[in-house]
């Protein structure tokens, strides 16, 4: 039986490098991730970390693959008090430039 998967595609008028920065730098993630500072600047084997607006650590997950600015994969097991038995999952970001031009 195949494992549950959620896939979401969006098109953004920005260079792949910019999107990569926004996905990996806490100063940027804070702006769109409802105050969460998410850092994933390392390479495979390093950590993805996330800190809540209240300053609590919510993630310490392994970076599984980091191929900037094309592909980022990290583990996902949030450290919420009310989810102690949450099984780990994984998040894959694939960034592909598109051929079109703006407006």
């Amino acid at each position: 039986m195949s494992k549950p998967t959620f896939a979401y595609v969006t098109y953004i008028a920005a260079a792949p490098e910019k999107v990569w920065e926004a996905l990996t730098k806490p100063d940027l993630s804070e702006k769109y991730w409802f105050g969460y500072r998410v850092a994933a600047e390392g390479k495979a084997g390093d950590l993805m970390t996330a800190v809540s607006p209240a300053g609590k650590e919510m993630h310490r997950d392994p970076i599984i693959e980091s191929d900037p600015p094309r592909r980022l994969i990290y583990g996902w097991k949030p450290m919420y008090k009310d989810m102690p038995d949450e099984l780990p999952s994984r998040v894959t970001f694939e960034l592909a430039p598109f051929k079109g031009r703006r407006g």
Binding site: V9, Y11, G35, R102
Partner: protein, 154 residues
Amino acid sequence: MSKPKFVYVTYIRTTPEKLWAALTDSQTIKKYWFGITAESDWKSGSPWSLKFEDGRTADTGEILEADAPKRLVIHWRNEFKPELKAAGFTRCTMQIEMAEYYPNYGGKAVKLTITHEAEEEQGGPMIEAVSGGWPKVLSNLKSLLESGDIAFKA
């Protein structure tokens, strides 16, 4: 066996009224839908179609429900690709709601949910096709409403 279905949610910094207007105005649709225009008076029971710039019909159907600015339901079949036309009629629901409001993070936004489902058992190919199309069209719609410009041209 459950019928094929595609669901896509996006949050847009706009009002329900502006989003409804963008979804139901032919000239606006042309801007974010890669040159395609929609023809309809957007009333329940009325015919609806999508047309290419050269006048050929892309898709046809009718408006099943039109409850501005909350809910639009379209009966929808592809016309120009034989394998998609053979997939039969589908039902596309566009639901507009206010997003959860986070006062410290950017103000009010609208949540748009597109549910596109097959009505026939053989509807799979059509749902697969729209699964690729909706993220493109809705990304352009979101960019247009938020920034005044679409995200990309095909």
